[in-house]
């Protein structure tokens, strides 16, 4: 009586098990060695330029075809990349911010580049700015090839500056007071705000400006797991107080978010705009009279916050040497074409391009081409970097200060306490 049912169930179980065998032949398991998978997080103007570069390299018939997958910027991208590397199913090559290498290289999620193979495709250390090359290293090995440096800069509306008579002063200013004075003059011209700066709900934006100014005081921030954070509180309070003083609803909106700030500046309702170089295409498309400068040295030392897009090799469980070779070629070819990338505002890392006449002719890009020499990346620690929680922690503690309701010293202390908590934990990579 039970025989029939048992046999039936056995059959069903066998069918299920048979289905299990299908697992081995999941799609994507057998790719041709000429097909390269390439992940990045570049959308908008950057995405368009990158897609063009990939198309151009594919069209050059170098024996491979790269397919790009674009994932959502920030934590979602980096989480997926780490999960893919942990599973050994990572793409052949991916874009990573230089500031994130410290969070990926030590955990074995990345593989180092081979200097000899790089030389074969014509890439050498001397082709990159020293500080940028250095940031791409971890523990003496090269984990990333930089595509660009993208700093935080100061844009200004040339017509408004002319009218306010501050064009020369903009280039020459050396102190917070001068900055405030210029911004006040510009405010009188626009009738709305002197400066646009969007930060509300965006930790990265708060961090970029503050860290630029903090580094300008000559202060440092050293984060070593197992030790308390080494910071300069006086410098931090001084610079936070300065930022707070600008966000007074006259010089700049107290509660500007990214979109509002950009559109305000675009429509001539402010004279200056603090933003990343990646904002340039939008401003240029609007055909507004705009120029860009490195953020003026207001606190004595030349310094700029920046990050770099770099190429990395995520860990794969099975590496095909042929495909790996193609990746080297692909990266070299993209770098050689990176003057196109500079069109999006970024400073090319590849020096033959950065020094080329074609790039030097790009305005206002070449105005800030010298920044890589004084660039400051996020502190080197596994939890910092673009789109990381680190910048969120900064926002959580400091947003009130920016909004005018919080005390700079208390806000900064809160941030440092948070960092100490993280430093106290075992490093997970």
């Amino acid at each position: 009586m039970t025989d029939l049912s048992r046999r039936g169930l056995l059959k069903a179980a066998a069918a299920l098990a048979g289905g299990g065998l299908l697992v081995g032949c999941a799609p994507g398991a057998s790719r041709k060695t000429t097909d390269l998978s390439y992940w990045h997080l570049l959308t908008g103007g950057d995405g368009t330029v990158m897609a063009g570069l990939v198309d151009a390299v594919n069209a050059a018939n170098l024996g491979f075809h790269a397919t790009q997958t674009v994932l959502a910027w920030g934590a979602p991208y980096y989480t997926k990349l780490a999960m893919a590397s942990a599973g050994g199913r990572a793409p052949d090559v991916a874009i990573m911010h230089a500031s994130r290498i410290a969070g990926y290289a030590p955990g074995g999620l990345l593989e180092p580049w081979d200097l000899d193979l790089l030389a074969e495709v014509g890439l050498h250390e001397s082709d990159f700015p020293a500080r940028v090359w250095e940031k791409c290293q971890y523990d003496g090995k090269l984990y990333a090839i930089a595509l660009d440096t993208h700093p935080f800069v100061l844009y200004y509306n040339t017509e408004h500056a002319e009218k306010a008579g501050v064009t020369d002063a903009l280039h020459a200013m050396k102190s917070p007071d001068e900055f405030t004075e210029i911004a006040t003059k510009l405010q009188k011209v626009t009738g709305k705000h002197g400066l646009s700066y969007g930060y509300l709900g965006d930790g990265a934006q708060m961090w970029r400006l503050w860290y630029t100014l903090y580094k300008q005081t000559g202060a440092d921030m050293k984060l070593v797991p197992g030790q308390p954070a080494e910071v300069d509180k006086d410098a931090a309070v001084k610079t936070l107080t300065f930022v707070q003083s600008l966000l007074n609803d006259t010089i700049a909106s107290r509660s500007g978010d990214g979109g509002t700030a950009t559109s305000e500046f675009l429509h001539g309702q402010s004279g200056m705009f603090l933003g990343g170089v990646w904002e340039l295409p939008v401003l240029k498309d609007a055909k507004m009279p705009v120029d860009a400068l490195p953020i003026p040295t207001l606190f004595g030392t030349q310094a700029a916050y920046a990050d770099s897009h770099t190429f990395v090799l995520p860990r794969q469980s099975k590496v095909s040497p042929e495909r790996r070779k193609h990746v080297y070629t692909m990266v070299a070819e993209i770098l050689k074409r990176s003057v196109k990338w500079a069109g999006g505002g970024h400073i090319p890392a590849y020096q033959p391009v950065a020094k080329s006449a074609e790039y030097q002719a790009l305005k206002p890009q070449s105005n800030y081409a010298g920044i890589p020499a004084s660039v400051n990346y996020d502190p080197d620690v596994w939890f910092s970097g673009a789109g990381s929680d680190f910048q969120n922690y900064f926002a959580e503690n400091v947003q009130n200060v920016f909004l005018g309701s919080g005390d700079p010293a208390a806000g900064f202390d809160g941030f440092v306490a948070r960092l100490n908590k993280l430093l106290d934990r075992p490093q997970p990579v």
Binding site: T2, L4, A26, P27, L71, A86
Partner: protein, 293 residues
């Protein structure tokens, strides 16, 4: 076995002896109309955007008659990019598999709990009841590790298997089987039919409505599930519709009309199915929602 019916009020629009045009009824109708309109606005606004040109969609202000007029351009572009049809296929494939396996295994197990006295039954039953309150969201980390070990990350089976059982559905089916008179089975068993035969040819045909209800419920849940497929897939070709739409971005900038066209396309299959099978689906959800009572 009382499944909920929602058809009653349709014929009877007002109670006898009541003025169908009374002020209070009109007021209620007005409130209802305003609420329903509010509920439909996000759909309407998204459809409207998806039919505009990118330039018009990205212009500030509410425009009901955009300068560039309306067209299906955004849909054409989204469909020709190829991702959405592929993701829809993945969604369909995995959801059908999940539904089939869940219904089959739940029905078999529900039947065992209802009809068979086996050793360990109480113990297993208690485990299932206890399991109902374990939210699958809490298992993502160990489950991901496990799928890495089984080599099932980035496979269809990796998406399907962890979603293919539902303790609550076992209980629902068991309760339904409990209400089927045993005599119906006895007659078949006197004829010498085995348990599986009886189950297949006597019990299942009687259970069609509840099986359909469970299947509808499971399918909708699987089609729309986000977290697990999101965790277990990193390969863009294997993503389901909800995961792909969220994870993979267009390289060509913020394109509002195309974005909305993608959303509408992703919503369309279930909405269409719903429009055709409204009564069955509503009944299925209500029945399953009440735990099959």
């Amino acid at each position: 076995m009382s499944t909920y019916t929602l058809s009653r009020g349709i014929k009877q629009t007002h109670k006898p002896g009541e003025n169908p045009w009374s002020v209070s009824r009109m007021a209620a109708l007005l409130v209802l109309a305003v609420l329903a309109a509010t509920w439909l606005v996000p759909f309407a606004w998204s459809v409207l955007t998806s039919l505009k040109s990118e330039a018009d969609a990205g212009a500030a202000g509410i425009t009901l008659n955009p300068p560039d007029g309306f067209s299906f351009d955004a849909y054409r572009k989204v469909l020709s990019a190829g991702d959405i049809p592929a993701w829809a296929w993945n969604s369909l494939l995995t959801s059908v598999a999940i539904t089939f396996i869940t219904v089959a295994t739940s029905a078999l197990a529900g039947y065992a709990f209802s009809r068979v006295n086996f050793k360990g039954k109480r113990w297993l039953y208690a485990a299932i009841i206890a399991a109902i309150i374990i939210p699958p969201q809490l298992l993502i980390v160990p489950l991901f590790r496990q799928m890495l070990a089984f080599n099932l990350v980035d496979t269809y089976w990796g998406i399907i298997l962890p979603q293919s059982f539902a303790p609550a559905m076992v209980l629902i089916l068991k309760r339904f089987f409990d209400q089927i008179p045993v005599e119906l089975e006895d007659a078949a068993r006197v004829d010498g039919a085995g348990r599986l035969r009886v189950f297949w040819s006597v019990v299942l045909p009687l259970s069609r409505p509840i099986l359909a209800a469970v299947a509808i419920f499971v399918f909708i849940g699987a089609w729309n599930n986000f977290l697990w497929p999101f965790i277990v897939t990193t390969d863009a070709h294997l993503m389901t519709l909800p995961v792909g739409l969220q994870t993979v971005k267009s390289a060509y900038g913020l394109q509002y009309a195309q974005n909305m066209a993608s959303a509408i396309l992703a919503a369309l299959p279930l909405v269409l199915v719903f429009l055709f099978f409204q009564r069955q689906i509503i009944k299925g959800i209500a029945t399953t929602g009440f735990g099959g009572q």
